[in-house]
């Protein structure tokens, strides 16, 4: 038993330990002796028990309480005693009936106690009966004090329905061997500071006292902070990286024209990804409009015959379709709007929601985020595109080893896929390319536009350590409490 342990004891622990030196005791007794509140005694007791200095023992106790009859006897005397008293003067049955309540009971118990004898209707007080009158029986004592330790007396009280008995278990605190050994080291309680009080500070009294060392291993509950949602944290993390790389954040609407979602991106109007199974259509809004009529004309000509882009075009155009409203199915729509509204130089990105008629499960959702952007500038080329992708891999995904291979997107040529080495496996990280002239020229852009998109949901899942896509929108407060901060 170290002196250190003795020192680190809380004053309340110290008090409880000392009070036990004289022997085992209940919390109530200890509380009485130490002057501590019962709750404090119990708390200190628990700490001491965890330290192995005391142990708990259970003590059974019987608590008796008088019934109405019992209370009556306690006040007026037992019937057999009254009988005995009356018998001193007159033993006639007639007189007894008049003066003794519950005569049958009185006779039965007086006889059983050997105080009287009954012969042919005549009652005689025995030798024992005489002195009994001046002595208190155990029953009487029990009724008076409300307690007894004699099992036989208790049984009689119970049988006569004079008391009800409740059994209580009491916790008894007892010193362990270690506890007993520690007591000599406790010494005289020196005045120590527990909680530093404003009073102590003000008076400077703290200078004269010693600070009691606290046990840092005493268990305490974890505080619950309010936090940003983990997905918001990751979105902000990525936004900050991109802004630091010189990208400007742009936004586009969730309800979108097919024009911006697909046509301006030179996706043929009968492209499978534009079908009813891949795009949510709006039921109750009338068609939208494209403000720049010349722009729309250029896009439609490009679809029909390539316009001046040098392309063959798709050979068809449906004006009705281009103005229909849908839920945006790709954030590339925001890039198209950015170019359409005059961006001719710079770097732009967006991280936002998209919508597709997918059934929701661990890997699919009808509503999901994409992160994508464009780099617009004279002389931009395929090597530059790879350069940016590599930076994204390192800065955003934290992946050093990446590789590139040719890919396909309807709106870029050339098109590139980037894979990253994640735990020894190649995982698709980003898709990208250089916008086709059929995309840029009708939008009035005469310089190359590098376009890229990061598999954002998948990346977020890796970063947040989740395997179910639905958890990106998890709102279980316990889950949120336990989720770590993203950094």
């Amino acid at each position: 038993m170290s002196a250190d342990m003795a020192r680190k004891l809380h004053p309340q622990e110290r008090l409880v330990l000392l009070s036990l030196e004289a022997g085992e005791a209940t919390d109530e007794t200890i509380a009485r002796e130490t002057g501590l509140p019962k709750a404090a005694v119990n708390k200190a007791g628990l700490w001491l028990k965890l330290k192995g200095l005391i142990e708990y023992k259970d003590k059974k106790e019987f608590k008796i309480s008088l019934t109405t009859e019992g209370r009556n006897y306690a006040k007026n005397g037992l019937p057999e005693k009254i009988l005995l008293k009356v018998c001193e003067k007159d033993q006639s049955l007639e007189e007894l009936r008049k003066k003794v309540p519950e005569l049958t009971i009185a006779l039965a118990w007086a006889k059983r106690n050997g105080w009287i004898e009954i012969d042919k209707g005549k009652i005689t007080v025995t030798k024992e009966g005489g002195p009994a009158l001046s002595q208190k029986t155990h029953i009487e004592k029990a009724l008076e004090t409300g307690e007894t330790s004699d099992e036989a007396v208790l049984a009689q009280l119970k049988a006569r329905k004079l008391v009800t008995v409740t059994e209580t278990k009491e916790k008894i605190f007892a010193l362990t061997k270690e506890g007993r050994e520690l007591i000599p080291q406790l010494g005289a309680a020196k005045e120590e500071i527990g909680q530093l009080s404003p009073q102590d500070l003000k008076t400077g009294k703290w200078r004269e006292k010693e600070f009691r060392p606290y046990d840092i291993h005493t268990p305490v509950p974890t505080a619950v902070p309010a936090k940003m949602h983990p997905y918001t944290q990751f979105i902000n993390y990525t936004r900050q990286k991109l802004i630091a790389l010189g990208f400007k954040e742009v936004k586009g609407p969730y309800v979108e024209l097919e024009f911006w979602n697909s046509d301006a991106l030179f996706m043929p109007q009968d492209h499978p990804a534009r079908g009813i199974h891949d795009v949510f259509r709006i039921k109750n809004l009338k068609k939208g409009f494209v403000k720049d009529k010349l722009l729309m004309k250029r896009v439609s000509e490009t679809h029909k015959n390539g316009w001046i882009t040098g392309s063959a075009g798709w050979g068809s155009w449906n004006q009705e379709q281009t103005l229909s409203l849908i839920m945006r199915s790709q954030t590339t729509a925001a890039s198209a709007r950015t170019l359409g509204s005059g961006a001719r130089y710079g770097k732009f990105f967006t991280i936002d929601r998209n919508f597709r008629p997918d059934v929701i499960d661990a890997t699919h959702s009808f509503e999901f985020h994409q992160c994508e952007g464009i780099v617009v500038g004279e002389g931009m080329n395929l090597r530059h595109l790879l350069g940016y992708l590599k930076i994204f891999g390192k800065e955003i995904a934290g992946i050093k080893e990446v590789r590139f291979r040719p890919g396909y997107f309807p709106f870029t040529e050339p098109s590139v896929e980037m894979d990253g080495l994640v735990n020894g496996k190649w995982v698709e990280l980003a898709g990208s390319g250089i916008f086709r002239p059929e995309v840029t020229l009708p939008l009035g852009v005469n310089v190359p536009v590098l376009a890229w998109g990061i598999g954002f949901g998948r990346l977020a899942m890796i970063k947040l350590g989740i395997t179910d896509m639905r958890d990106l929108f998890n709102h279980d407060l316990e889950w949120l409490k336990n989720k770590r901060i993203v950094y």
Binding site: P225, A226, K227, M228, T232, G246, F247, K248, E249, K251, P253, E256, D270, P272, R281, I282, K283, N284, L285, K286, G288, F289, V290, G310, S311, A312, G313, G315, L325, M327, Y345, K347, P357, D358, I360, F366, E367, V375, G377, N381, L382, R383, H384, L386, G387, R405, P406, G407, Y408, E413, P414, V416, E417, P437, E438, P448, F473, D476, L477, E478
Partner: protein
């Protein structure tokens, strides 16, 4: 993206030199052939722009060329026509194209590959037979000339493929599995297309099914191919892909006389590519001579003079719309693994979107006030938005083809989702304080999309003592910390307890900026909540506009 299954040994045998698994694994992805699974059979994800790679034959041709084994434009002989096909007016599918390949050596891998190619073309380029429907026939079973015409559904009877019963076209549509599957492609038209031989026997009922008569078996050596659809250019591309794939299996292509024209037409297309443009777009310092070699390694014929490459495009390349498509191929021939990434000098200043940035400031304040952030889907149901909130429906954006009623409309306020969040956290510790800041979608006739994204903020506190004064104190904190000059007035809103509800007004504004109050017990009951709750919702962007 389509997945093609190939037999690894079969593929290797068609490449033209020995090639190890390791080399294959490296080479395939560099040719737009992404390996999905590698066991006895290889599963390869192809890109929809290269339908000529939808077969073992096509892949072998590409890889062989890329490796430099057989480079340049492949010369293909087409022998003189022996078969005539007479087209006539067919309203439903105006165009037909045909070809013959003789002397094909059928074997298991080859049949599998060609069937897969046919299906993939039907499905991808053909938009599931709508634009392209392909039929393959044993040409020895029928007697030319063949006729493409339209007839009434009951006019002719024939035995459809894999059946033993004679039936007319209407019966095929009603009873044959393929007829039922594709009936939508002919329904509504009075007359339906057929191809018959000189004895009026049915070869095909496009785009539904072939006749059993011309079924291709292991004994078949001479094939007749028909392709029908609404776009002449597209069906001819598919024909060219098919016949050149069959040629790789030792077949001899034979022309068909089709209304005076000869098909297939395998003459290459010519496109001029500016080699400076190519160098500029790819960022590669490559000479004209190198460009010529690279073009040849992608199966093109090329002659470079000065800075212009005259490129002959093989007839099976359906994807070349623009010189950039050829420039990408120069990059592919160069090898994407060998292209060195470079970060350009393009000085710009990064900038956050204002709404997003201000939303983050709001998030910080709400978190400081002890509110946990949650995020919810934009898509929800009108029932949750209005009926469960005890209010009359307001106009909201509704989805025509929702995946479920639960997600069939865009939310126009956040609070219903937050209350739903509290419901799902019923078994967790109280008090619960949550907030969300996100876009709601509000119909707006002035917007080009007839709707607007509106950034809103909502917060809920739920516990046994949740009260109006608690929410007002939160709103006061927002007001004072952002310095907004708003006024609170008593308000009536059915989602809140009458007499315990208010609205926030900016000076001079008629429409409230936001609402707040103790949630109406009717709403609490609708959401099965056991605790009282108080909440607010406001237009977040307006906070910063004042």
């Amino acid at each position: 993206m389509p997945i093609i299954t190939v037999d690894s040994d079969d593929l290797k045998s068609l490449i033209g030199r020995k090639i190890s698994d390791e080399e294959m694994k490296k080479v395939l992805p560099l040719n737009k052939l992404s390996i999905e699974d590698w066991s006895e059979e290889i599963k390869i994800e192809v890109t929809p722009d290269r339908p000529d790679l939808f077969s073992t034959e096509g892949m072998a041709r590409q890889i062989s060329s890329w490796l430099g084994i057989n480079t340049g434009l492949v010369k293909t002989d087409v022998s003189k026509p022996l078969i005539e096909v007479v087209p006539s007016k067919v309203s439903l599918r105006p165009f037909i194209t045909c070809g013959v390949v003789r002397g094909v050596r059928m074997n298991d891998s080859m049949i599998k590959s060609i069937m897969q190619l046919q299906e993939m073309l039907d499905f991808t380029l053909g938009r599931d037979r709508k634009k392209v429907a392909i039929g393959l026939h044993d040409v020895c079973k029928v007697i030319p000339p063949f006729y493409y015409k339209e007839i009434l559904p009951e006019e002719i009877e024939f035995v459809p493929l894999n059946s033993s019963k004679r039936m007319n076209l209407m019966q095929v549509i009603k009873t044959h599995p393929k007829g039922i599957q594709y009936s939508h492609l002919v329904r509504g038209a009075k007359k339906w297309p057929v191809i018959v031989d000189s004895k009026n026997r049915v070869l095909s009922f496009p785009p539904i099914i072939n006749g059993e008569l011309t079924k291709v078996t292991e004994e078949t050596t001479d094939l007749f191919i028909d392709i029908t659809g609404p776009n002449e250019r597209l069906i001819n591309h598919c024909l060219n892909i098919l016949v050149t794939a069959l040629e790789k299996r030792g077949g001899k292509i034979e022309a068909v006389s089709l209304g005076g024209k000869l098909r297939p037409d395998l003459s290459p297309r010519l496109m001029e590519v500016n080699t400076d443009e190519a160098r500029k777009l790819l960022g590669l310092e490559i000479s004209n001579k190198e460009i010529q070699t690279l073009l040849e390694r992608m199966g093109y014929g090329a002659a470079v003079k000065k800075n212009s490459a005259s490129v002959l495009i093989p007839a099976f390349r359906a994807d070349i719309l623009h010189p950039v498509d050829i420039i990408e191929d120069i990059g592919i021939a160069y090898g994407f693994y060998d292209i060195i990434p470079e970060v350009p000098r393009l000085p710009t200043t990064g900038e956050a979107n204002r709404t997003e940035e201000l939303s983050n400031r709001v998030r910080e304040l709400m978190i400081g006030l002890g509110f946990q952030e949650v995020i919810n889907y934009t898509l929800t149901s009108k029932e949750r938005q209005f009926a469960k909130m005890n209010v009359k429906p307001e106009s909201s954006v509704e989805i025509e083809n929702p995946v479920s009623q639960e997600y069939s409309a865009c939310r126009r306020w956040l609070l219903p989702s937050l209350i739903e969040n509290i419901r799902s956290n019923k078994h967790r510790k109280f008090p619960q304080k949550i907030f969300e800041i996100a876009d709601c979608i509000i119909p707006n006739s002035k917007s080009d999309t007839s709707a607007l994204n509106v950034r809103k903020l909502s917060g809920v506190t739920a516990h046994s003592h949740a009260s109006l004064s608690e929410i007002i104190s939160i709103l006061n904190a927002i007001k004072e910390n952002f310095g907004v000059k708003w006024e609170m007035k008593s308000y009536k809103h059915e989602s809140f307890i009458p007499g315990r509800c208010g609205a926030i007004f900016l000076p001079g504004m008629q429409e409230p900026l936001g609402i707040f109050g103790e949630i109406n017990p009717k709403v609490l009951v609708n959401f099965e909540l056991n605790n009282p709750a108080a909440a607010f919702e406001l237009d977040a962007e307006k906070i910063f506009e004042h």
